[in-house]
C-alpha cells in the first residue's frame, strides 16, 4: 500500500491528526529542550569554575557546596607540592547602582596570595588593598551600569548592607567570566568582617609547583582533609554544586518524561478514536484479501508518519524552547548561560524518541485491529456501539507500577541510597506513578462515574443519562481522556511545586553557606 494513502487518511481528520501531532511535538520538544538545558547548565558551571580558578590546578571545596573553616588554608599551604593556597568566599548579593538594583556575586579574595592564582588586569583605578572597604568591578559591567572609579557601591546581602567604594575596573579576565561580569570583588577580610561570615570560606584554590604531579598531590591533600571536604580539579566543582541544581534537574527530567508519557497517551487516545471509526474500512481491507499484518502495518505507518512529522517539528521547537529555559535557569541559578551548547546525543535521542513514542503508543491496538475477524467490522450490527471490555491486566500492571513507586519513595525518604542515584530514580519513579495511575484509572473511574450518575440521576435528564452511558461504553477512551487530564494536572502541580521547593532549596543553601556559623 502506498504511503500517500496513509497521508490522505491523516488529512481526512485534520483536527485529530493535528492533536496527535501536537502530542508528539510537545513530547519531543520538551525532552530535547530539557536535555539541552541541563547539559548547557552543567557545562556553564564547569566552565565558570575552571575560569575562576585561573592557574589553580586543584581546589578544596565542601561537599554539598557549604562553607568551612579558614584555618585550613595554612595547613594546605604547607602541603608538599602546593605553591600557593588561596582562599575564596562567594555569595549572592544585590548592589545598588545608579540605574537600580543589580543582582551580583560577591567574591572575596586574598589580594596578596591571589596574584599567584589569577591575573587581574586593571583598566582603570588601582588594585585591592588588603582590608580596604573597596571593590573591583568588571569594566564592561560597570560601564553598562554607569558606575565609575571612586563611586559608591552599596552591597546588600542577607546579613546586612555595606557601603563600599569602587577602587578599580578590571579588564575581561577570570573573575569577570564568572556570572557574566556581574561580580563584586573585594578583599576576603573585608567580606568576612562586613558580612559577618566569621572564619568561613567556600573554597581554597591550590596552585601547584608542578601540575604534572596533580594526581599525587590531590591524593596527599585528600587524606589530610577533614570529612565533608573534597579536593578536585576546578571544573569538577560543577558536580558539587549540583546539589543546588539537583532539584531543578529532577523537576526538568520528570517534566520531560511526563511530557513524553502525556504525548503517548494523546496519541493512543486519538488512535483509538480512529480505530473505532474505521472498523468498517479495516474489515473491508481484510475482506479484500489484506492480511492482519498488512492492516497492522498500515495503521502503524500512519502513526509513524505523525511520529516523524512531530519529531521534525519538535526538534527545532525544542531548540528554540531551550533558549527560553536557559533564560529561566539563568534567573533561577544566577549563572550566566550563553547560547545552548548541545551535544549530539540529545538530538539523536529526540529523533529516535518521536517515532518510537508514536509506534509504542499504537502498537498494541494496531495489532489487535489486525487480528479482528473481518466480519465484525462489516456486518451492519458492527456499529461502534459495542461496549468496550475492560481487561484485567492493566489493573495488575498499574498496581505494580504504583507499588514500585511507593517502594522508591520509601527508599528515597529513608535515604538508603547516595544522592547521585536519587536523581536518576526519581524521574523514572514519576513515570511509573503516572503510567500506573492511568492504567488503574478505568477501574476507579467507572464506579465513580456510576456514583455521580446515581447521585445526580434525578437532575440529569435524558441527555445527561445518555452522555453518562456513552462514557461508560467507551471505557478505555474515557479513562484515557481522564488520564491525559490527570497527567496535565500532575505536571502543573508537580512542576510548580518543584520550582517552589527549588527556590526554598536555594534559600537553605544560602543560609547554610553564608549565614550560619
Amino acid at each position: 500500500m502506498k504511503w500517500s494513502y496513509s497521508l490522505r487518511e491523516l488529512r481526512r481528520r485534520p483536527l485529530r491528526s493535528g492533536l496527535t501531532l501536537t502530542g508528539i511535538t510537545i513530547g519531543v520538544a520538551a525532552m530535547l529542550s530539557i536535555a539541552i538545558t541541563i547539559e548547557t547548565t552543567r557545562r556553564a558551571y564547569g566552565d565558570m569554575y575552571t575560569t575562576l580558578a585561573g592557574r589553580a590546578a586543584l581546589e578544596v571545596v565542601a561537599i554539598g557546596d557549604g562553607g568551612f573553616d579558614a584555618a585550613l588554608v595554612d595547613q594546605l599551604s604547607g602541603t608538599d607540592g602546593v605553591a600557593v593556597a588561596a582562599p575564596v568566599v562567594q555569595m549572592p548579593a544585590v548592589m545598588i547602582g545608579p540605574k537600580g538594583r543589580l543582582v551580583v556575586m560577591v567574591i572575596g579574595i586574598d589580594p596578596e596570595r591571589d596574584t599567584a592564582v589569577r591575573d587581574l588586569k586593571l583598566r582603570a583605578g588601582k588594585a585591592l588593598a588588603p582590608g580596604g572597604a573597596v571593590v573591583l568591578l568588571d569594566a564592561a559591567f560597570a560601564a553598562a551600569n554607569g558606575i565609575g572609579v571612586g563611586d559608591d557601591a552599596p552591597v546588600i546581602t542577607r546579613t546586612g548592607g555595606v557601603r563600599l567604594t569602587v577602587c578599580g575596573l578590571m579588564e575581561p579576565g577570570p573573575i569577570s567570566a564568572f556570572n557574566a561580569g556581574a561580580v563584586v570583588v573585594m578583599p576576603l577580610s573585608t567580606a568576612k568582617k562586613r558580612f559577618g561570615l566569621g572564619d568561613q570560606i567556600n573554597s581554597v584554590q591550590l596552585v601547584l609547583e608542578d601540575d604534572d604531579r596533580a594526581n599525587a598531590i590531590r591524593q596527599a591533600v585528600q587524606t589530610s582533609l577533614p570529612d565533608g571536604l573534597s579536593v578536585r580539579p576546578p571544573a569538577a566543582r560543577a558536580d558539587l554544586v549540583r546539589d543546588t541544581l539537583l532539584s531543578t534537574e529532577q523537576a526538568l527530567q520528570s517534566f520531560s518524561i511526563m511530557s513524553l508519557v502525556a504525548g503517548a497517551f494523546i496519541i493512543l487516545n486519538t488512535f483509538l478514536m480512529n480505530l473505532a471509526e474505521r472498523r468498517r474500512q479495516l474489515a473491508l481491507i481484510r475482506a479484500l484479501g489484506g492480511t492482519g499484518k498488512q492492516v497492522q502495518w498500515w495503521l502503524l505507518r500512519e502513526a509513524l508518519l505523525l511520529g516523524l512529522t512531530g519529531t521534525a517539528i519538535g526538534i527545532p521547537l525544542g531548540w528554540l524552547m531551550s533558549f527560553g529555559m536557559l533564560g529561566s535557569m539563568q534567573t533561577l541559578m544566577g549563572v550566566k548561560l550563553s547560547a545552548p551548547v548541545p551535544g549530539v546525543m540529545p538530538f539523536v535521542a529526540a529523533a529516535i524518541l518521536g517515532p518510537v513514542m508514536a509506534l509504542a503508543a499504537t502498537w498494541v491496538p494496531a495489532r489487535r485491529a489486525g487480528r479482528e475477524p473481518p466480519l465484525n467490522g462489516l456486518t451492519a450490527a458492527a456499529g461502534t456501539d459495542a461496549i468496550e471490555s475492560v481487561r484485567r491486566w492493566p489493573l495488575v500492571v498499574g498496581v505494580i507500577c504504583i507499588t514500585l513507586m511507593a517502594g522508591i519513595c520509601v527508599i528515597l525518604v529513608g535515604e538508603h541510597l547516595p544522592q547521585r542515584s536519587n536523581e536518576k530514580i526519581l524521574p523514572a519513579g514519576m513515570a511509573l506513578l503516572m503510567i500506573g495511575g492511568i492504567l488503574v484509572m478505568p477501574y476507579l473511574l467507572m464506579p465513580v462515574l456510576r456514583m455521580v450518575v446515581w447521585g445526580l440521576g434525578p437532575f440529569m435528564g435524558f441527555e445527561g443519562r445518555m452522555a453518562a452511558r456513552h462514557l461508560d461504553r467507551r471505557r478505555v477512551r474515557t479513562a484515557l481522556t481522564a488520564g491525559v487530564l490527570f497527567v496535565a494536572i500532575v505536571i502543573s502541580i508537580g512542576f510548580g511545586n518543584q520550582i517552589r521547593s527549588n527556590l526554598r532549596d536555594m534559600d537553605t543553601w544560602y543560609e547554610r553557606t553564608f549565614v550560619g556559623d
Partner: protein, 257 residues
Amino acid sequence: MTTTGTRTTAIALHGVHKVFGESSTRVEALAGIDLDVGAGEFVAIMGPSGSGKSTLLHLIGGLDVATSGTVAVGGEDLASLNDDQLTMLRRRKIGFVFQAYNLVSVLTAIENVALPLIIDGIAESRANERAGRALDLVGLGSRPDHRPGEMSGGEQQRIAIARSLVAEPVLLLADEPTGNLDSVTGDQTMRLLRRLVDEEGQTVIMVTHDARDAAMADRIVRLRDGRIVEEQTLPPVKSGADVLASLEGLDAPEDAP
C-alpha cells in the same frame, strides 16, 4: 446454460451448520445446507430477513467458518485453511460486493478498484492498467479520478463491482447489491451482473430481497430459518419482461421495459 450437471462445480456445500452464541443466546443461522453452484452460474439467494442468507455468503467467501459441514470453493475445503490461507482465498479467488458499497472514501475510483491488486503487492502501474479495464467493463472508464463522494449510489456500486472483478476471481459474491439503489440504477447494476455471467463466464452468487433482481439469475434458492426450502431453475434470460412473466405470484414491476 442453466443446468449445473454439465459444468465443473465452483462451490459445493454439504450439511453446513452455523451456530452463533451459546445457550440462551444460541442462534442456528444455518441448519444443514446442501448446495452446489456450477462455474459460470448465476444463483440468487432469497428469503426473509434473518433466514441466514448473509451468513451463507460469508461462509462461501471465507469470511467466517462453518460450525459443521463442508464448504468447498474450487474443490478446496475451507475448513482445512488457516486464517492466512483464507485471506489468500479472498484475495485471489473471491470478489465481494456489499450492500453498502464500502468504498474507501480517501481513494479515487481507480484506486479503489486497484486496491485488491495493491494489497496483493502488484506494481501500481500494472494494477492501474487492470483497474482501468475493470472500470471500462462497468462503464465508468471515463471517470477514474473521481472520489466516491463525488459519485451517485449506482456509480459507486459499479465501482464496487469493478473492484470485485479486478483480481479475476473465480467467484463473485454480492449481498443485496441493489439494496441501496433506486430501481433504475438497480436495474443497470443487475444487467451488468448478467452481462458478466453471459460474456465473461463469471460465477455469481447474489443475495437479494427483490424478486425482480432474482429474476435475472439462472437459479433461485430460497432460505427460511437456515434451511433451503425451495430451488427454482429459471429459463435462459431473454429479457426482463420474459422472466417476470414466467414467475408466479410476483408483482409486475411498474417500470419493466
